[in-house]
């Protein structure tokens, strides 16, 4: 099966001169369709930098990134914005919903950015909220939603327009145990879509059981990869790749 996202030998140098830091030191990573991959590592290990590069927000200093059939390196900022608009959905730690828009409007905003016709957006937003079991909160503003509900709206927003890659940055960090589980269960469910791959950056060991693959990063390098859960036809229940 072709990876849906493929990063090869990614190097990211931050700062310059005496303040220069090599945040990533030749990272290679693949996201497979229909899988949820967890990226774990201590603070300062380069998780967020890698996520930013995989999401076409930062450009790598060296290495290549491919999303689907699109090369994501060497693009202008508008070209990168176009690529992430078409192929990448984000779920942020602090939700990042627009506070002046309702839950449904937040989803419609993402749809409009992805070029969905205006007349179709309300229906698609409605379905996306149904998918995360929040249809009854469609007209609520973020300030009236609980943390778990906000994160589910954020997931609905990331799903809007059916991007092939969803990148989630610590999606359970601000949630209690029950909501955290609910969000991970939802992401795991979403990952079953064969046209989509999900990468979740997390510190939270409670999320391990939801992962198909686990990648460990330390000091800007991948130090471990493991298959946590067998997909139908894979054979072994759990196997370490390295």
């Amino acid at each position: 099966m072709e990876p849906i996202l493929e990063a090869s030998n990614i190097v990211k140098v931050l700062g310059s001169g005496a303040a220069e830091v090599r945040a990533l030191k030749g990272v290679s990573l693949e996201l497979m369709p229909g899988e949820l991959t967890l990226l774990m590592g201590p603070s300062g290990s380069g998780k967020t930098t890698l996520l930013s590069i995989l999401g076409c927000i930062l450009t790598p200093s060296e290495g290549t990134l491919r999303i689907g059939k699109n090369m994501a390196t060497g693009l202008t900022s508008e070209g990168m914005a176009d690529l992430r608009r078409r192929h990448v959905g984000f779920v942020f730690q602090s939700y990042n919903l627009v506070p002046t828009l309702t839950a449904a409007e937040n989803v419609m905003l993402a749809l409009e950015l992805r070029g969905t016709p205006l007349s179709e957006a309300p229906g698609i937003a409605e379905n996306a909220l149904k998918q995360v079991k929040l249809a009854h909160r469609a007209h609520a503003y973020p300030s009236k939603l609980s943390g778990g509900e906000k994160q589910r709206v954020a997931i609905a927003r990331s799903l809007a327009g059916s991007p092939s890659v969803i990148l989630a940055d610590e999606p359970t960090a601000a949630l209690d145990s029950e909501n955290g589980k609910a969000v991970m269960a939802l992401l795991s469910e979403v990952a079953k879509d064969k046209g989509r791959g999900i990468l979740v950056v997390t510190h939270d060991h409670r999320t391990l059981s939801y992962a198909d693959r686990l990648v460990r990063i330390e000091d800007g390098k991948i130090v471990g990869r493991a298959r946590r859960r067998a997909r139908p036809g894979d054979g072994a229940a759990a196997a370490a790749d390295h």
Binding site: G55, I57, R85, S94, A104, P122
Partner: protein
């Protein structure tokens, strides 16, 4: 309680999100919106009043000229404005009439006069003259003498009497807005011009001069007598060019025949009069400078509040960028905010400006025209869009990676 969206009718309305976001952001920061609107309203009111005074001044400066039909004006050399008159040497009309291409010519006498107020026999005390026979001082005025047989457009807005009444001996027309200054209040009231008694036979309403001197209209022979001009002498000779004749050619011919005078087209003399009062005296420049200053103040206030509002929403804009929003989409949100602010500020400002203009209408030359109303709307929107530039620069340069550091 939030409503369910089980049916499509309950689904959110399909409004472009850039516009919706701009509207919501604007009303979310109500204090910021208030400050923005105060800035715009201040600017709109000031610009509207300044421009209205400018237009009102223009209107009054050329009010009489605009009621005179003439292709060419023969005037004493160096005349700066219609209402700064000097008499021509005399008999220009005959020279004009004998020039090829001229259809008709008529004389116009314009002259400063001293209007000697007299007590009125009616016994009314409203004029300020308590003595029935005594005088009550003098007032300066501008006498306009014209041929009542040929000129049917002066004076206009007659409310008492008729143009034909100016044919009666010593008849003059005055405007009711100058009654108190001229110590008259009705048809039949008397005054003296150059020791010659005149009687009010026609009353107009709303004919006011830019210089504040009252206009006194009289027939041409009486005007010549009152200013001690000889027969055939005038201040201006008004020329109508024959159909098919070239105005420029006729002007050259007249100029050659009358070398001590100036021959100007109606438009040229009108513009010269406007330029003199509006720019040579500095009156118009002051008004324009005031309007420009108001626009600058408006831009600064709106720019500051829009910038502050944008900074307050910077994380949302960063999220939009992270979600893949193009620069164009972000620009659209901020520009919509600017345009919505402009429209709200303009509406409030114009209401206030109309109130100010209403109260100033008897004190100052002030006119609000349809073109000015629309022009100000365009100007206000342009002002707010210009003010949005700094906010747009701030947002366009935002690094979407900040969304991961929150």
């Amino acid at each position: 309680m939030a409503a369910a969206i089980g049916t499509s009718s309950a689904a959110p309305k399909a409004v472009p999100m850039a516009r919706k976001l701009a509207y919501r952001n604007l009303f979310h920061d109500q204090l910021s919106l208030f400050v923005t609107l105060v800035g715009i309203v201040f600017s709109v009111v000031l610009v509207a009043v300044q421009c209205s005074i400018y237009l009102g001044s223009e209107f009054r400066i050329v009010a009489v000229m605009d009621h005179i039909k003439a292709d060419l004006w023969v005037l004493p050399g160096g005349t700066k404005s219609f209402d700064l008159p000097v008499l021509l040497p005399g008999r220009e009309r005959h020279a004009v009439l004998s020039t090829p291409g001229v259809k008709s010519a008529e004389d116009l006498v314009v002259s400063f006069i001293n209007w000697r107020r007299l007590g009125q026999s009616s016994g009314s005390d409203k004029t300020g003259c308590s003595s029935e026979t005594g005088t009550c001082g003098t007032a300066s005025a501008l006498l306009i003498g014209f041929d009542i047989a040929t000129n049917k457009t002066l004076p206009w807005d007659i409310v008492q009497g008729s143009l034909a009444d100016l044919a009666t001996p010593n008849a003059v027309a005055v405007d009711s807005s100058y009654f108190k200054e001229l110590a008259v209040e009705r048809i039949g009231d008397r005054a003296e011009i150059n020791e010659m008694q005149v009687t009010v036979r026609v009353v107009t309403q709303g004919i006011r001069s830019f210089t504040t001197l009252p206009f006194i209209f009289a027939n041409l022979p009486l005007a010549r007598t009152l200013v001690d001009a000889s027969v055939g002498q005038a201040t201006y000779t008004l020329v109508q060019v024959a159909p098919g004749a070239d105005v420029e050619q006729v002007r050259k011919s007249l100029q050659a025949r009358l070398p001590d005078t100036e021959v100007l087209t109606h438009g040229e003399f009108r513009q010269r009069s406007l330029d003199y009062w509006l720019f040579e005296t500095g009156a118009g420049s002051g008004l324009i400078a005031g309007a420009v200053l108001a626009i600058v103040v408006g831009i600064v206030v709106v720019a500051q509040t829009l910038y502050a509002s944008t900074k307050e929403h910077i994380n949302e804009f960063a999220t939009l960028r992270a979600l893949g929003a193009s620069s164009g989409f972000i620009r659209k949100v901020i520009l919509w905010q600017a345009v919505l602010s402009a429209i709200m500020g303009y509406c409030l400002g114009m209401v206030l400006a109309q109130v100010v203009i209403y109260f100033l209408r008897d004190i100052l030359p002030i006119v609000m025209t349809f073109n000015l109303v629309w022009g100000l709307l365009v100007l206000t929107i342009a002002m707010c869009v210009l003010a949005a530039v700094s906010a747009i620069f701030k947002v366009i340069r935002i690094d979407p990676a900040v969304v991961f550091s929150r």
